[in-house]
Symmetry: C2
Subunit: 325 residues, 2 copies
């Protein structure tokens, strides 16, 4: 089986760089065996990335590994969980050793950064796609959920919005910023988003709800509204936009991408007035900016977009793979 599936998995993915104490058996048996610490809840999420749909087919494999992991880590961040283990089911059209080397090197670099261990996976032949299963811990009872927001809570986002959509437009040749450094920044924000793990942990006990922005602010905030049975007022002037985005597109395009571009992998969260001070201290220590962009209201109000004090109506929605039919 010299060029076979098993030696392929072994060669690129059976690396023992990070050995977590909670892993009894990692790769190499029918299942991985894990010892979960007491008084911790396990947080589990899974995401699939399909070539041509979730990433451009000619993407650099090192970028792809970063992005695939970040997309999944972002779900842990949104629960306030600490990353622990990864499973990787990789479907490849053929065995391309240079590709596998670059992909796995990049993946393990990220796993080591986050003190994570790859505990299992599967390699199959087919059109390029991958499904990651991510597992983390959160202290029992302290997870951030979508359902805890109340009318009156403030609405926040970390970082800046819309950069990822601009980066994608640049990669697709639809946008050419004047300054090369702006283009580089926006492309990096698309290819290598930073999962907000530190921010999610800082928000435990302080945020009343949280979600990560994968489908766009309007779509993802919509999930909080639905789960929490609330409405919201969103102040469009307060949406945090990067200098690079503002330099590269019209204000209207920037707003459009900030609201519905998706793939920002920032956190959107809510917190009651009484936690504002503690929240500023906790988030301040993470070194990443955040912005208050609105306030939760009664469910009957729905989601209202406010510009210069006036309610406005916009047409766009979040990205949805099957909604275009």
């Amino acid at each position: 089986m010299a060029s076979g599936e098993f030696s392929l998995i072994a060669r690129y993915f059976d690396r023992a760089r990070t050995l977590r104490r909670d892993v009894e058996t990692g790769i190499g048996d029918d299942c991985a065996l894990l010892a979960v610490p007491e008084k911790q809840w396990l947080a589990i999420s899974t995401d699939t990335l399909v070539g041509g749909t979730h990433f451009l087919s000619d993407i650099d494999p090192a970028d792809l590994a970063c992005k695939a992991l970040a997309v999944n880590l972002s779900d842990l961040a949104a629960m306030g969980a600490d990353p622990a283990w990864l499973t990787l089911a990789l479907t490849l059209p053929s065995v391309d050793e240079a590709w596998l080397q670059a992909f796995s090197d990049s993946l393990f670099e990220q796993l080591n950064y986050y003190d994570m261990q790859l505990i299992g996976g599967d390699t199959t032949r087919g059109p390029l796609a991958m499904t990651l299963g991510i597992h983390g811990y959160v202290p029992a009872g302290r997870a951030l959920k979508r359902s805890g927001a109340k009318a009156g809570d403030w609405i926040y986002v970390t970082g800046t919005l819309g950069d990822s959509a601009a980066g994608l437009a640049i990669l697709q040749g639809e946008l050419s910023p004047e300054k090369p450094q702006d283009a580089r920044y926006l492309v990096q924000r698309h290819l290598r988003p930073t999962p907000r793990i530190l921010q999610g942990k800082a928000l435990r006990d302080l945020a009343s709800s949280a979600i990560d922005i994968s489908d766009g602010l309007i779509a993802d905030l919509g999930h909080i509204l639905k789960a929490s049975d609330c409405g919201a007022r969103l102040e469009l002037e307060k949406l945090p936009l990067s200098h690079e985005l503002q330099q590269s597109v019209t204000p209207d395009q920037a707003l459009r991408w900030a609201l519905s571009g998706g793939e920002d992998y920032e956190l959107c969260f809510t917190a009651p007035e009484r936690n504002r001070g503690a929240l500023e201290v906790a988030l301040g220590q993470t070194g990443t900016p955040w912005a208050c962009i609105g306030q939760m209201t009664a469910a009957a109000d729905g989601l209202r977009l406010i510009r210069e004090g006036q309610a406005v109506t916009l047409e766009w929605k979040g990205y949805d793979h099957f909604a275009r039919e």
Copy 2:
């Protein structure tokens, strides 16, 4: 988002039929939250099934759900673990409601049978494929591994071997058994294999090693030999063959499929002489036959196939997706 991804997931997969007490939050947030009982190890496995590679493209969706779950449950069985939770990442070329209804009905029927809960997933557009992540428990320190076999231990398999390959050949029009009931039996063995969960649990503390037969007996026993640093003598006359298989193919073909056909999802395990009595009692209670097919030897002996007392050489190996290049 009436016909969108999220309502699609909600409509077919957000069913609350089985509500496990260890599930704090199931489908509907960024992650599922799970409370693992004390003194239990978590067993995790993931498998991908790609249309055209792992199943025929025209497979009945109800059969596909059974097979996909069985393939993953079989990994838990091989560790002696109890099933608990499933994640499902489903990639579909389009939204086919009849297909989704049949697939999800069948999946939930199986999940309820095994007292499992679907805790998360992802639906993406692309060529038909799915990745399941399966999670179960095994009492700490009592998992069956591939690495515990010793020279002198007896080698066993549950059920019968080769039926699944015959069933596949029938579906592909390459085999036409004389009796329709034989054909039906073999096809069912291929489409709806029975994961040996009960047998795996019965073997805790009794078997010295175990693996499930997905790639064929020779390939999978080979993994035990490698992990346990042993050789083995396999008595070809002792391989358990179903009456239906023997009625449908030549003895040589039956042997070939029993050794290397794959997808049987029976357990291959080893046990020391001193456990033979306890093993017969424990397995006897499960109602499924099992057979002793050989004995572990020193690593230097390698894997030796014995027919009528003579070592024989055969050419076939287990199925390996990338080995054919």
